[in-house]
Subunit: 382 residues, 2 copies
């Protein structure tokens, strides 16, 4: 890896701090308007008046909105069917975004229910009641360029204008402001990696830290379904690091049905076996995994395969009292629960939590610790 | 509790064992016919020829089918619209059941996708390849009256006739046979409690054993949502037992919005607080739970409330690095995952697994260990 110059410049215009009111809770219920007192995500409309802040909030000057892909597509389709995009910048999608934010105080697509995240700079940090800065805002300074790690669907946002829309990356360059609550999560963008790479990695920031927690020294085998995808590679690498070098005694086994991804994962040299099979066939998958693991079921399985009907394969490949951790949002709660019960598998079934303390720092650091993965990700997502 | 006489009598007719073939796997793929080699649950049709068994199987003489409530209702409705129930016993539902079992080799309702469970007697136990009896069949003898704990949707079944249909309990008395695989789960029905009570308790057999595993000596507070229902009471009782007597230092807090259930739970004296609030309001629930717990979030939450949109309340009441265990089948995987991420809650989210080793024995024993709960359950479900 060659070192790169900083990608971003510091802001030039000074900012006059706004007053901080003593009210406010860590979840942002103080900004819910319809209904009042609700959580900001389910609320229909939230308060985006940033002439004052509430304790624990952080105010950001917004530069770019990364819209959720499903939301962007829906707005593109709706926008081309009758609306006039002439009155605002950014065409039909820009108009939809301006409308939504004006109506709801947040970019929470009322059709898809989804949001996205944003890039911006720290404008002001409102302390807590004790005068201290919230734990999540420690180490941040005014002017820092940051990415938010909580959804736009719960982030108070005011837009003053839209300067560009990039359909290929579902991004809008905007001028405006946003607030994150104490329960919000954001990360300072690193200066030593391209922004696109950082965003791609942050998108799956929760995966590797959970692997680091769950893979214990006494375990001898870890299975990763969808091991060749972005989160799958990070999971496999973290499992390898926890289990130690590949000597055959402690195995990282991946399943990846897409041949190019499987080859790229093999080339990384972190897995003992990469199986090119379809995780929707639990019987075939179980057979292949047992064959790759001396006839034993694995200790823990991480499912990163965003395909329905793969719950049973994960359950059946895992030993009794082992763990099946589902990162994929396509996972069905009932299929996992009833599937395990149906074959009397005494496994712990876990719902992937995208948040873990310091997850962003952990995952960004992996781009330094695993240069071959960084090189692959730069090719794929850079 | 007064002791009761045995409810069931031993069978009288002798049974001639059938040959056992050397093939077979623990999951029953050897009996899948369409498609061959599949798991029996997703398979359209499975082999119900019991003139021979495969290794690890147990053959049962079936007496009663407990049909899943949704399935029974669907068959009642479909049956009254045009079919003639004259040609088989049991009316329209009986006819539907006979049709389904004849077509699929199992009582797997093709419309609802659900099954149920059955009551019967052990007719023959086929040993494993090493001549030993499978671990799950240890302690069982021919003639024992048993209940199955895996779904009828994956249980090979042959019906010879239907003798009664009881709509109020969604039960059919039948003559026929069924097979359970090595991965199946069944339990000997106790002689010292009424069958209806045993079945009601077995229906939620997985709950209390998971509580026993997850509540650790260092924990000081456990929350049970839906604490007044059947599984909620068992969870609260198990949590109390693990935390020790109610001195205020280590608290079991329950949420139960149905006033009668809340009163009955209070009368049991196992909870430090029973909160009569709606778990669909996460802000109000969090406030009430913190108030009942000296301002602290709880260590672990068990959600037994079978109502949508209660995931967030469970997440927000639980401390960082705590556990939220979802037993309710109404739980949404995405609402739990995105909800925790949205408020940056670093909690372990778990999918309730209805199976745990020895869960049936554990839960049936609670009817002796907690006589007040047994008395309440006999009133409610007996």
């Amino acid at each position: 890896m060659t070192s790169r110059p900083p990608v971003f410049v510091q802001p030039t215009q000074p900012f006059k701090p706004v007053p901080v009111l003593p009210e406010g809770d860590r979840f942002g219920t103080h900004r819910a308007l319809e209904p009042a007192g609700a959580l900001p995500q389910p609320a229909w409309r939230i308060d985006n008046d940033f002439s004052r802040l509430f304790r624990g909030e952080i105010l950001l000057d917004v530069e770019t909105l990364n819209i959720d892909a499903a939301s962007f597509r829906q707005m593109e389709e709706a926008g081309t069917s009758g609306h006039s995009p002439a009155d605002v910048g950014g065409g039909p999608v820009g108009q939809k975004v301006m409308e939504t934010v004006a109506t709801r105080g947040k970019q929470h697509n009322p059709v898809t229910g989804s949001g996205g995240m944003l890039l911006g700079r720290v404008a002001q940090i409102a302390p807590l009641a004790d005068g201290k800065v919230a734990r999540v805002h420690e180490g941040l300074s005014v002017g820092d360029r940051v990415a938010t790690l909580v959804s736009l669907s719960l982030t108070p946002l005011r837009l003053d204008g839209i300067t560009a829309v990039r359909a290929e990356s579902a991004q809008l360059d905007v001028s405006g402001q946003a607030v994150l609550f104490e329960s919000g999560s954001l990360v300072k963008l690193p200066h030593d990696m391209p922004e696109r790479l950082a965003l791609a990695v942050l998108d799956v920031a929760g995966a590797a830290p959970q692997v680091a927690r769950l893979v214990k020294p006494e375990m001898t085998s870890v299975l990763v379904l969808g091991g060749g995808g972005k989160s799958g590679i990070l999971c496999a690498a973290e499992a390898r690091r926890k289990l130690g070098p590949s000597t055959g005694a402690r195995r990282v086994i991946a399943v990846e049905s897409y041949p190019r991804y499987a080859d790229e994962l093999r080339a990384l040299g972190i897995c003992d076996a990469v199986l090119g099979i379809d995780a929707r066939d639990p019987v075939a998958m179980r057979r292949a995994v047992l064959e790759a693991n001396d006839g034993r079921e694995v200790d823990v399985t991480f499912s990163c395969v965003n395909v329905p009907d793969t719950e049973m394969a994960a359950v059946m490949a895992t030993r009794d009292r082992g763990i099946v951790y589902f990162f994929a949002m396509s996972t069905s709660f009932t299929k996992a629960a009833l599937g395990a019960e149906g074959v009397s598998k005494d496994v712990d079934l876990m719902i992937g939590n995208g948040y873990a303390e310091d997850h962003a720092a952990h995952t960004l650091a992996m781009m330094h610790e695993f240069p071959a993965i960084r090189a692959l990700f730069e090719t794929r997502y850079g």
